[in-house]
């Protein structure tokens, strides 16, 4: 898969919460984009030269369109927020490894998103839902769908084993998907879209909706359990997710953020600490932009 920088076109943008923008981009980069990958978006302003890494929220492969949902956090993103339909936008992509969908097969899945970490979980929720559809139209019909559901509930191991028999085009349906979403307040951006594809549980910092507190509080309050976790959000949340997963003995795939410059693995700006010596760097650092942004929580020191 080749990385490219190109001048794409904004095919639509709207504000969906205070400071949160929802933009569709017409770009050839959509062809190979996967949930959990990101784009580098380049401001035009001469004072803000570095590209901004922004997670891909949704992909329409057939329409050559990508969706990004981002928070205005400075001059660069404020510039992006001013773009109207039809304007050019300078993007590079698609970057990063993305979430391993195959590990959701036959499992009870948590999609955990906090704040501006919520948007990339939407694309993942869609991909998981589509894997289910794919299955129900072919593989699922062959093998019957109830079979592994109970097994998966028993243990993650059992579910993992079952994937071998069920895999269709590398994907199989998860048993259940809970989207656990943490917001600041009642501005529940994207929540309705999640509800079409997952069971949604909400936590808000101000307690205005759902559980007052963070996403782990919401999990406890709703006595939810899972076999695998996918998560994106602020570092304190990811630390809590890592600890929870470790105690529960389940894998957690977490998408990390770090200040980046190049986005392609050249500058070594965006490393995270790893438990083992990294195969590329030969030290205990992995490049978030290239080896990540998604890591198995137990592999990284956060």
């Amino acid at each position: 898969m080749n990385k490219k920088k190109e001048t794409a076109v904004v095919s639509g943008q709207r504000q969906i919460a205070e400071g949160i923008y929802d933009m569709w981009i017409k770009t050839n980069l959509a062809v190979a984009a996967k949930p959990g990958q990101f784009l580098m978006v380049y401001p035009r302003g001469a004072a803000t030269l570095l590209p901004r890494p922004i997670s891909i929220c949704e992909v329409r492969h057939d329409e050559n369109r990508l969706r990004i949902v981002y928070r205005v956090a400075g001059k660069g993103t404020a510039e992006f927020a001013s773009y109207r339909e039809g304007e050019p936008i300078s993007v590079m992509g698609t970057l990063g490894n993305g979430f391993p969908l195959e590990d959701a097969a036959g499992k009870r899945v948590f999609l955990m998103g906090g704040g501006i970490g919520i948007p990339p979980m939407l694309g993942l929720a869609q991909a998981l839902a589509e894997s289910g559809q794919a299955e129900s139209t072919d593989a699922a019909k062959e093998s019957g769908q109830a079979e592994s559901t109970d097994a998966a509930k028993e243990s993650g191991q059992a579910a993992a084993d079952s994937t071998d028999t069920k895999k269709t085009d590398g994907l199989t349906e998860p048993v259940s998907v809970h989207a656990v979403l943490g917001y600041r307040d009642s501005a529940l951006f994207l929540k309705e879209e999640f509800e079409r594809m997952a069971n949604v549980v909400v936590a808000t910092e101000d307690g205005s909706v759902g559980t007052k507190g963070n996403i782990m509080d919401a999990v406890r309050e709703n006595t939810l359990t899972a076999d695998v976790i996918y998560a994106c959000g602020p570092m304190p949340m990811l630390r809590a997710v890592k600890q929870y997963a470790s105690e529960a003995g389940i894998p957690a795939y977490i998408s990390l953020e770090e200040r980046m410059a190049c986005g392609v693995g050249a500058c070594l700006g965006c490393v995270c600490k790893t438990k083992q010596v990294d195969a590329h760097s030969h030290v205990k650092n992995a490049r978030v932009c290239t080896e990540g942004p998604v890591f198995l929580a137990e592999d990284v020191e956060i």
Binding site: T48, L49, L50, V264, G265, A266
Partner: protein
């Protein structure tokens, strides 16, 4: 939708290099097909940007700094944006010379471009270990990093004091099989003096400027943006300082000067050549435009064509 690389390819066709046009330059006996190189630390070992540009088009690839053993580098955040540029405090993270020779050097050797290895160390012995390991390799030149502002030991300590610069240059020249480029720090009072010291100690060429030490404070969080507090500044913002230092250095020595600091376009590169640089390096702007290096190669050719320059060497030091 117009991809930037498409544009680049169209230009490549349109601005066919004139057969009579000579873009080659020679640095310490090594002939580069054109004067455009990459700045150490901004281009990895070529692999990452090889997805964007044809490395065969470059005069030389200068690698990320390599030490005798793997270095972990600094904590994050390691990079920050500043007005017209960036700060970095990577801290010379690198996999060490052995991995470099096993993995990166064979990759680079596939290409028809010169390979210049940037060498870093904490002690003179560290540098020499790397230099000696490379002595039988296919590497074309060595660039000695005595100017990284982001590591506590070594590096810039050798590059800010004339005596220290003299002795490390002399010592490395004793062990080096390839031509030695000393990469100078701009964080000095008198760059001409440092250039002269490097020349007197036997350097075959000098390159400048490395980054200028800068700082950024987040006034909302009231803390430094970089974990290292300070970082090296690069980007278009520093170009006038770099051009001045290249001019001063080039007029102080007779060895070749490789100029860099904020080069974003062919026009910038030509400014450095006119100031006295025999070659130029593209650094932070690779991050802003991954096609920058090849666009600059082509832009120099089209400037030469437009202004009737048949040999790029005519430009070197042409403004006095």
């Amino acid at each position: 939708m117009q991809t930037d690389s498409d544009t680049q390819q169209r230009n490549a066709v349109r601005i066919r290099k004139d057969a009579a046009m000579n873009t080659s330059v020679t640095i310490a006996g090594v002939e580069l097909k054109n004067p455009v190189m990459t700045a150490s630390g901004t281009f990895g070992s070529g692999m990452e940007y090889g997805e964007f540009v044809d490395l065969n088009r470059l005069g030389a690839v200068v690698t990320k700094g390599v030490a005798n053993v793997p270095w972990e580098g600094n904590p994050t955040p390691r990079v920050a944006e500043v007005y017209g540029g960036m700060l970095n405090a990577i801290g010379l993270q690198n996999p060490g010379i052995d991995v470099f020779m096993e993995r990166d050097l064979p990759f680079l050797s596939q290409y028809d471009t010169k390979v210049i290895v940037n060498v870093c160390g904490k002690t003179v012995e560290d540098y020499i270990e790397v230099v000696e390991k490379l002595s039988d390799s296919s590497v074309d030149m060595l660039e000695i990093n005595v100017s990284c502002p982001n590591v506590k030991e070594g590096a810039i300590a050798f590059g800010q004091k004339p005596e220290a610069l003299y002795s490390i240059t002399e010592e490395i020249k004793k062990h080096a099989k390839q031509p030695v480029i000393m990469k100078l720090s701009p964080n000095v009072t008198d760059i001409a003096e440092m250039a002269k010291v490097a020349e007197a100690a036997g350097a075959d060429a000098i390159s400048l400027i490395n980054t200028i030490t800068g700082m950024k404070i987040d006034i909302e969080k009231r803390r430094f943006v970089l974990a290292n507090k300070t970082g090296g500044m690069s980007g278009p913002a520093i170009k006038p300082i770099a051009v001045r230092m290249v001019y001063q250095a080039a007029h102080a020595v007779s060895i070749p000067v490789i100029g860099m600091g904020g080069i974003a376009t062919a026009e910038d590169a030509i400014e450095f050549l006119l100031a006295g640089a025999s070659a130029v390096s593209v650094g932070a702007m690779n991050f802003v435009n991954p096609y920058a290096t090849v666009e600059i190669v082509e832009g120099i050719e089209s400037y030469m064509k437009r202004t009737g320059v048949s040999d790029v060497k005519e430009l070197i030091g042409a403004v006095v």
